[in-house]
């Protein structure tokens, strides 16, 4: 029994068709993302590098397998993870402008990275401070995000009202941002630069070895989201309604928060905080599929999120030039118009169906 939104049409509308179309788009954009880069490689050489590496120059194989493939896979995972995390947060908080970072995950991660990057020079003798390796940055981001998650969960277990949790999340974020600001203020140029570059987001620095960690993490988060689809449906009608249905609201909240944190936290750890995708994609999916059922919205968000992120990555490569754009600028420029349009279009904030 489909719960269709206010835009209920006379024709019976089947979301499956849209989902199939999105899946086709994912494949097309994935191939495009492999094909388009600052260094031109022909499509046949890309296919050879992937499936018959003996037939092309070994350097081309390296570029395709070690650079473009992990980057495209990372874009796919990041788009899917952030969109699903954003969808969950919008539903739980019943707020159309909530996103994957509403719980303060990105500020927690930023604090972890800031302590590592900006703190090392001040806390330890700089001579002794080790390189900012890719793994250490990811680890620091994850620990920072996890600390905020534990705080939120602790609060969530005691506080009944969801809005209180939202406000506390914003307060935690502000507090961590303040600490990060102080650290930035006292940092020298090169530390500052490496931190600022981290905040701009990056897909291309994720290597195959890191994907081995990122992929299972995202899959686990998505699995948790899919099994809580029914719970999410109940949240749409408000927590009191969910309680009256006999649902353990606090337990459901914890499950959804953990899923969101695994999704947003893993992506933030390896790619930095990537904005706007997680807010904009769920709205487009709701409109395109004309449904409020999470069993449809979750796969929709996975697919559209992937497409959007792959598309953003293609743009950020500035095809044909040596330079690149930071991925965060691209996602912001794509996402902001959507968010503005949502704000202008919403007659009542909070009604998400």
């Amino acid at each position: 029994m489909d719960q269709t939104g206010p835009a209920k049409s006379k024709r019976s509308y089947r979301p499956e068709g849209s989902l199939f179309l999105l899946a086709v788009l994912v494949v097309i954009f994935f191939v495009l993302d492999l094909f388009i880069g600052s260094y031109h490689i022909s499509l046949s050489n890309i296919l050879k590098a992937l499936f018959a590496p003996g037939q092309v120059d070994s350097q081309l194989v390296t570029i395709v397998r070690q650079f473009r493939l992990p980057k495209a896979l990372t874009a796919l995972l990041a788009g899917a993870a952030l969109s699903v995390a954003g969808l969950q947060m919008q539903t739980v908080f019943r707020n159309p402008l909530a996103g994957p970072y509403v719980l303060g995950i990105s500020s927690g991660a930023s604090l972890g990275v800031a302590l590592l990057v900006l703190g090392t020079g001040n806390l330890f003798a700089a001579g002794a401070f080790n390189i900012m390796g890719a793994w250490s940055v990811a680890g620091a981001a994850w620990i920072g995000a996890a600390i905020i998650l534990l705080l939120i969960l602790a609060v969530s277990a005691r506080v009944k009202d969801i809005m209180t949790i939202l406000i506390l999340g914003i307060l935690f974020s502000s507090a961590t941002s303040a600490i990060v600001n102080i650290m930035q203020y006292f940092s020298n140029e090169s530390m500052l630069k490496s931190f600022v570059v981290w905040t701009m987001g990056s897909l291309g620095s994720v290597t195959n070895a890191q994907l081995h960690v990122l992929l299972p993490g995202v899959l686990l988060g998505l699995f948790l989201a899919i099994i809580s689809a029914k719970l999410l449906d109940a949240f749409l009608l408000g927590e009191d309604y969910a309680r009256s249905m006999g649902m353990n609201v606090q337990l459901a909240r914890v499950l959804i928060f953990i899923s969101t944190c695994i999704l947003a936290g893993s992506i933030t750890a390896f790619c930095g905080p990537i904005g706007f995708i997680g807010i904009a994609v769920p709205h487009i999916v709701r409109m395109a599929l004309r449904t409020a059922r999470h069993q449809r919205l979750i796969p929709g968000s996975i697919l559209l999120g992937s497409v959007t992120m792959l598309f953003s990555d293609i743009i950020s490569q500035l095809p044909g030039s040596e330079s690149t754009l930071p991925i965060n600028s691209v996602t912001a420029l794509l996402g902001i118009p959507v968010v503005v349009w949502i704000i202008l279009r919403k007659k009542t904030v909070g009604a998400l169906s």
Binding site: Y39, T62, R68, N188, S205, E322
Partner: protein
């Protein structure tokens, strides 16, 4: 192609505008001046008048054009000439100096004037042991960085002169504030010079404020001939190894331009910088896959930033393992002389001893050319 055309158009414009002589309303009137000759540096001029000297800094921050600051140096034992009323006056020789960049310290060290130093940005960035000793003897304070500069502390040091530098126009706010506080401040723009000897030549500029023009000239000439001698040794080598330099931030690589100080050093040392065709003096962003395509032919990798070992390089990005310099351990970093706090002498003494930097690079690129084979600023990563 478009970028090349743009650059060409810009160069022509700059040339045309540069040829227009600017009419300064100068207080000198008709008094005659002798200009101290400046051989390489583009960022400053020195004019000698009977009773004072005039130092002018041109375009003192990146992408600045048509901007200049003039300073009038008047010996302490003389009266300030009335025609200099309202100008930036510095009484020389200066006795209490604050340096806001550690690259300025090299000049003080070369001129034997570190005893005049009363303020530095951060002791951890200092490499020179005599300056570190002064800090431990409480003769020297840390005044902080550009945005977190402690003005009260700076003022309490009663400096005769603050040497600062500008990354962009923002510095003019700092200049105005110091001016309002009555602290004489001077911009030093040695970091904008695109050749190592031009950087070194700023010793004449710093020498002037200590009244040590002869000593600074002597230093410059000695280093200049030493530098050229080393450069001549490799001027006509047939084998020019290909050089990769720097370290990326995530997946973007700020590559030193083909006309930058680093590119010029590599060229003078008989190497071929991988981006030698680029015409920029500033760094530009290159995507990491482009770097890899170019770097597959690299022979050496230099100035690997914070990476202190081959393992560090791999931890920054595991894919570096496949680059020839990493495979052959032909990676050299310029941090052999780093203090316990992390201050790197390359940015300090290296400014006034570019001949030693050049000798290091020749030793690395052409081991058959240099007799002793010892490295000074550089070390091989293992």
């Amino acid at each position: 192609m478009v970028r090349k055309l743009l650059f060409l158009a810009l160069s022509i414009l700059l040339f045309l505008f540069g040829c227009k002589s600017k009419k300064h309303s100068s207080p000198e009137g008709k008094s005659t001046s002798v200009s101290t000759s400046v051989k390489y540096a583009r960022g400053f001029t020195i004019e000698d008048f009977k009773t004072y000297k005039k130092l002018t800094v041109l375009n003192p921050w990146q992408k600045s054009s048509g901007i200049s600051y003039s300073y009038y140096l008047v010996p302490r034992n003389q009266k300030v000439p009335s025609l200099l009323k309202g100008k930036n006056i510095v009484r020389i020789p200066v006795r209490r100096v604050v340096c806001l960049s550690t690259t300025q310290l090299g000049f003080l060290e070369a001129l034997n004037e570190t005893s005049s130093l009363v303020g530095i940005p951060d002791i951890n960035l200092v490499s020179d042991s005599s300056i570190i000793q002064r800090y431990h003897d409480n003769k020297l304070s840390e005044v902080g960085y550009a945005q977190s500069l402690n003005y009260e502390l700076l003022l309490s040091l009663k400096p005769d002169l603050v040497l600062t530098y500008g990354v962009d126009g923002e510095v003019s706010a700092q200049l105005n504030k110091l001016h309002d506080l009555g602290v004489p401040v001077m911009l030093v723009g040695e970091y904008l010079e695109s050749t190592p000897m031009a950087k070194c030549e700023w010793i004449k500029f710093v020498g002037a404020i200590y009244g040590k023009q002869a000593a600074s000239k002597k230093w410059f000439n000695r280093i200049d001939s030493s530098y050229r001698q080393i450069k001549d040794e490799v001027a006509d080598v047939n084998y020019r190894p290909k050089i990769l330099a720097g370290l990326p931030w995530k997946d973007s690589w700020w590559m030193a331009g083909g006309e930058s100080n680093l590119a010029n050093l590599v060229r003078d040392a008989g190497g071929e910088y991988l981006w030698h065709g680029n015409t920029s003096r500033d760094a530009f962003v290159v995507s990491i896959e482009d770097v890899f395509m170019k770097a597959k032919s690299a022979d050496f990798w230099i100035n690997s930033g914070t990476a202190a070992s081959i393992k560090d390089l791999r931890s920054v990005d595991g894919r570096f393992s496949s680059l020839p310099p990493v495979k052959k351990h032909a990676v050299y970093n310029n941090n052999a002389r780093t203090s316990a706090g992390g201050g790197n002498d390359y940015w300090e003494k290296g400014v006034v001893r570019p001949d030693l930097i050049l000798k290091d690079l020749v030793t690395i690129f052409h081991s058959d050319k240099v007799t002793d084979g010892k490295l000074y600023f550089y070390r091989q990563l293992n």
